[in-house]
Amino acid sequence: MAFDFAKLSPKKTALGAPHFSDPRYSPLAFDEARFQSFEAEAGRLTCVDGGNASVINTPNLSVQLVRVYRNEFDGGERKTSEESEFLVITRVEPASGGQMLLKAETMPLNGPKLLQEDLAFDWADATLAQGGFKASPSALGAVARRFAEWKMACRCFNPVRDGTLQTSVTNESIFSRKAYAESKGVFSALAKTSSLYTTTGLPLVSAVARLAGKRAAPWVYGPLCVNSQPDHEADLFVAKLHENATHCFRFEVKRGCDALSVLPALAFQASDLAFLGYPYGLVDADKRARVPFEEARQMQGVMRQEIGEGAWREIELDSCAVDAHDFLDRV
């Protein structure tokens, strides 16, 4: 065989060191002393997640259905849960100086109104742009969802986000700072996927898992770097939350907080058999926040009635300009 597939085995690759392309993260070399073992222990956590799906998607109009959800568990017991559902209607509008604006209004459907003001973005805003192109109106659905997730985390105890604590969109840090200020306990995030690598090209999370060897879980490794990025106020770790878990995850806490003040409770929730090693609260939040394609389709039917057949057909003509399969937002 011409290609030596055996060389694909990660075991053949040296661990290297954590790698960050952004100079504001200065990596810390791998060191087994950075492992800490701990015991799972029942505790209070609030998991937050969101979901969005496209209802209408044309080059100059987007309607997205957004749902944000949180649950609070004390050990295995659900204390509260809350859901907020709204539509994000985004249009392209010309502004002064030849600029174009993406303007989004929200329309509450269910639960508390999380976003009080309309959103407006410069069409050319680089934080929205995908692959160097101008942002499409549909991008604001995901933006509104992120903002709303932060809002949902306000006044929570020990909020845990699905993903990371990094903010990426213009003005998002206003929402994150408010969430840090108004929530209680320790703010953290757990990411199912991670795009961090080592200097040798290994996924960072797998490299840490290799370094852990047969160490008994639960454990946490880190920090991975000294982080001075102002829009990412977090210390970065990798954690394995159950001894029989097959996966480790990237874990972040609000900069300067004690990771071990929430990890035991996360590990406790990670004993759920449906996904050993991943906290049940996040499983629940993911499921409840998700907006299935079918639901977006139903909403489309409702809107079609509201709009009327004639106007709807015009919208449909416009939407031929975008990919016909692009009902679900991919952001």
Binding site: A40, F73, G76, R78, H242, E243, N244, Q269, S271, D272, L273, A274, F275, L276, Y280, D284, K287
Partner: protein, 483 residues
């Protein structure tokens, strides 16, 4: 409102409902759903597991537990994620105290509750009641008497099918006990185990309403003797098989010797050279076996047939003890009385009171192989003359389909034989296609009544006869004799 389940999906006749955790729904259980246009009564016909978790994950999870690696694992909110799904179907809708057929789906997501007394107000007592038992929800009897219109039900025939020991005789005893002093019907009971007489004589009014006959009469029974002269050649149809030549000979003998035909045949008298000696000899031997002198006699007892039919037309309940007779002799006795009754009825101007004939192992006369006989005629056209059958059997599948379809009320007791259940379901008055499991799971004394005279297939619980009779006796007004 105490909901036990909630509708989550499905279609008409196959609604899927999630069982509330902590509740335990049963197959056959009756539920109610409050709708704007009335109360829908529904019944559980199947149960299955539901889970929010992928099957592979569940298999992996049980592996972890089984192999001892399940320590430090748990299930969060187990009652929310694993549950039981019940398949339910609508039975009937109660609107303004009346039952109407269910033609709509209950509201999506509506809650289901257990039925209450107030839901059942539509089950009123008919003028001529035929008591069958109490309403049953799953395996729980509900204190609601199930009574159908007896006159209609009895004239349109009743089938009581079940595997042995499931309570056929007990049911018939209970029915007859309740019917005993009802003047709207007469009943002829062929009693091959001498069980009906013993039971019915416990009735306070047995002296007036019960007429019992036995070849060995004791305590209030009348001697069962039938004169040869009462026999006609066609009484043997369905009773015992005769060849073509033998049949012709029987008719020739009857034509030639009239009321003496049996005596002369048994004596071996000649019918001339039209009949071969072998034929006569075989007939003589065959008849000799069935007419062995215990019931059918050469002399005396000339009025018994008129007496019995008279009692029946007088709404009496006539029990014939055939416990010491062979099957053929029993059928011959039944055939003689039934023919006489049917003839009197055909000649009369009225179809009242209705007369019903109770026959155990009914396929003996109703199967294809039995050929045409008075019982199959009654099954086909008896209702025109107010004569019906109560056919008891373990093997309903032996009864031809068009006859089964004519037996318009079926009181289906437990049956583990698939073929039997299929025959019953195919010929039922309601769609019982989803009730196969329920029928297989019926316990002693539990039944499903499918009748053209009922709005839905009614699940019933039949009381044990002994208990029913003593309860009835205790609640009856005290008799003067005791004072």
């Amino acid at each position: 409102m105490e909901f036990v389940g909630q509708i989550v999906s499905g279609a008409f006749g196959e609604i899927l409902a999630r069982q509330k955790s902590g509740e335990e729904l049963e197959i056959g259980e009756l539920l109610a759903c409050d709708e704007p246009n009335g109360i829908q009564l529904l019944q559980v016909y199947d149960l299955e597991y539901g889970s929010q978790i992928q099957p592979e994950t569940i298999e992996l999870m049980s592996g972890l537990r089984l192999e001892g690696k399940g320590e430090k694992t748990s299930f969060f909110e187990e009652e929310l994620r694993h549950y039981v799904l019940a398949k339910v179907k609508g039975l009937v809708t109660v609107r303004g105290g009346k039952a109407v057929s269910t033609k709509t789906l209950p509201k999506f997501f509506n809650g289901l509750r257990r039925i209450r007394d107030a839901d059942l107000s539509f089950l009123d007592k008919p003028e001529k009641p035929l008591f069958l038992g109490r309403l049953r929800s799953g395996s729980k009897a509900i204190d609601k008497r199930i009574e159908l219109d007896g006159e209609k039900v009895l004239s349109h025939h009743v089938l009581v099918p079940a595997t042995t020991g499931r309570g056929k005789s007990n049911l018939v005893k209970v029915m007859l006990y309740e019917l005993l002093d009802k003047d709207y019907c007469g009943v002829l009971v062929m009693d091959p185990h001498n069980e009906y007489h013993k039971s019915l004589k416990k009735h306070a009014k047995a002296g007036e309403w019960l007429k019992s006959y036995s070849p060995n009469p004791e305590g209030g029974q009348v001697s069962l003797r039938v004169n040869y002269a009462a026999l006609k050649p066609w009484h043997f149809n369905g009773v015992m098989p005769f060849s073509e030549a033998q049949q012709q000979t029987l008719h020739l003998a009857y034509k030639t010797w009239e009321k003496d035909w049996i005596t002369r045949l048994l004596a071996g008298d000649s019918l001339g050279d039209k009949v071969q000696d072998v034929t006569l000899n075989v007939l003589q031997r065959k008849l000799g076996l069935i007419l062995d002198g215990r019931v059918f006699v050469k002399n005396g007892s000339e009025t018994i047939v008129d007496d019995v039919t008279g009692h029946l037309l007088d709404s009496k309940k006539v029990v014939i003890d055939t416990s010491r007779l062979g099957s053929e002799a029993e059928l011959l006795v039944a055939s003689v009385f039934t023919n006489a009754l049917f003839n009197r009825r055909k000649a009369a101007q009225t179809d009242k009171p209705v007369v019903s004939i109770v026959l155990e192992e009914a396929p003996r006369v109703l199967s294809e192989a039995a050929g045409a006989n008075v019982f199959s005629s009654i099954a086909r056209e008896g209702r025109k003359f107010g004569v019906g059958l109560i056919a008891i059997t373990q093997l309903a599948s032996l009864i031809p389909r068009e006859v089964l379809a004519n037996l318009n009320t079926k009181i289906i007791l437990g049956n583990e034989m698939k073929q039997e259940r299929e025959a019953l379901i195919a010929s039922a008055s309601q769609d019982l296609s989803t009730d196969d499991k329920a029928i297989a799971a019926l316990d002693k004394g539990e039944a499903i009544v499918s009748s053209v005279f009922s709005r839905f297939a009614v699940p019933i619980s039949i009381p044990l006869f002994e208990e029913h009779a003593s309860a009835a006796a205790a609640s009856a007004p005290a008799r003067k004799a005791f004072v």
